[in-house]
């Protein structure tokens, strides 16, 4: 009644592709974290579609844990970005290439 299952999966794949492009091409630590968030959101879309396809709630429960992991990842990642910015004065990953401060 809604749409074929593979259309939902292809939407998730396309969003994951956009997040991958964001991680691979932007020279910016914050944009790298944003790309990872986009990819996690794509995984959540795929899980919700699969939960509807097989009529199981387990997929939706897993999206709850994806949300928790995304929140922890962004908290720690942004703290690391702030520390990197304090040391190097920029958010360019190419500038952040030494092991002592």
């Amino acid at each position: 009644m809604i749409v074929p299952f593979n259309h939902v999966l292809m939407l998730a794949g396309a969003v994951l592709f956009l997040g991958l492009i964001c991680v691979l091409t932007r020279r910016n630590l914050i944009m790298t974290l944003i790309g990872i968030e986009i990819m996690m959101n794509a995984a959540a879309i795929a899980f919700v579609g699969a939960a509807l396809h097989w009529q199981r709630i387990d997929g939706q429960a897993f999206v709850l844990f994806i949300l928790g992991v995304a929140a922890t990842e962004v908290a720690v990642g942004l703290a690391l970005v702030v520390a990197a910015h304090r040391i190097t004065g920029s958010v360019d990953p190419d500038r952040y290439d030494f092991l002592r401060w």
């Binding site: 749409v3 986009i38 949300l67």
Partner: protein, 178 residues
């Protein structure tokens, strides 16, 4: 009942367009605004696919907490907009080598799968049933996630605090030598 497919395709186009705009902006505040639109579209999609509780959580956690955290950091660091952009081959080569084959292979895998062309049947689970299911079967995972959040809080405080060491590398080197 052709209303639901129309809503789905509209939401899919909305999500893809707002995400594509977000990953190409240079101004990071614009990036955050477009991403908030993208996550709101994802929340509406969850609602359409029968997960109203997850739709609410998507709005609260993703569009609310995570994006506001990004906005705080962007405004706090005063990120310069001098990031090198452009279409140089060296920057786009990883995407071309990794991204586009991934997209082609995933499309091939999804559309060649025989059982994946079934039409999804509408079903929904309310917050009450969902919460009962999670706390009956996945209570241990919920506790693990809560411990993970606590550890992330401690790690963020420890990493982001700084400032109590010596002020700058030159001063610390001078202090070590004296």
């Amino acid at each position: 009942m052709s209303l639901q497919p129309a809503i789905f395709y509209f939401l899919a186009a909305f999500i893809l367009v707002s995400t594509g705009l977000a990953i190409t902006r240079r101004n990071l505040v614009h990036v955050v605004v477009f991403l908030i639109f993208s996550f709101l579209g994802s929340a509406m999609l969850f609602f359409l696919l029968g997960a109203p509780f997850l739709a609410a959580l998507e709005v609260i956690i993703y569009a609310g907490a995570i994006m506001i955290l990004f906005l705080f950091v962007i405004m706090m660091l005063r990120v310069d907009l001098a990031e090198k952009t452009g279409l140089s081959l060296r920057r786009w080569l990883p995407s071309i080598v990794i991204g586009f084959p991934f997209l082609a292979l995933s499309a091939l895998a999804v559309f060649r799968e025989p059982g994946s062309a079934e039409i999804l049947k509408s079903a929904t689970v309310g917050p009450g049933g969902f919460g009962r299911f999670v706390f009956e079967r996945y209570w241990l995972a919920v506790e693990i996630i809560s411990i993970l959040l606590l550890l992330a809080l401690l790690a963020a405080v420890l990493v982001g605090r700084g400032g109590n060491q010596k002020a700058s590398p030159t001063e610390s080197e001078a202090g070590e030598e004296s």
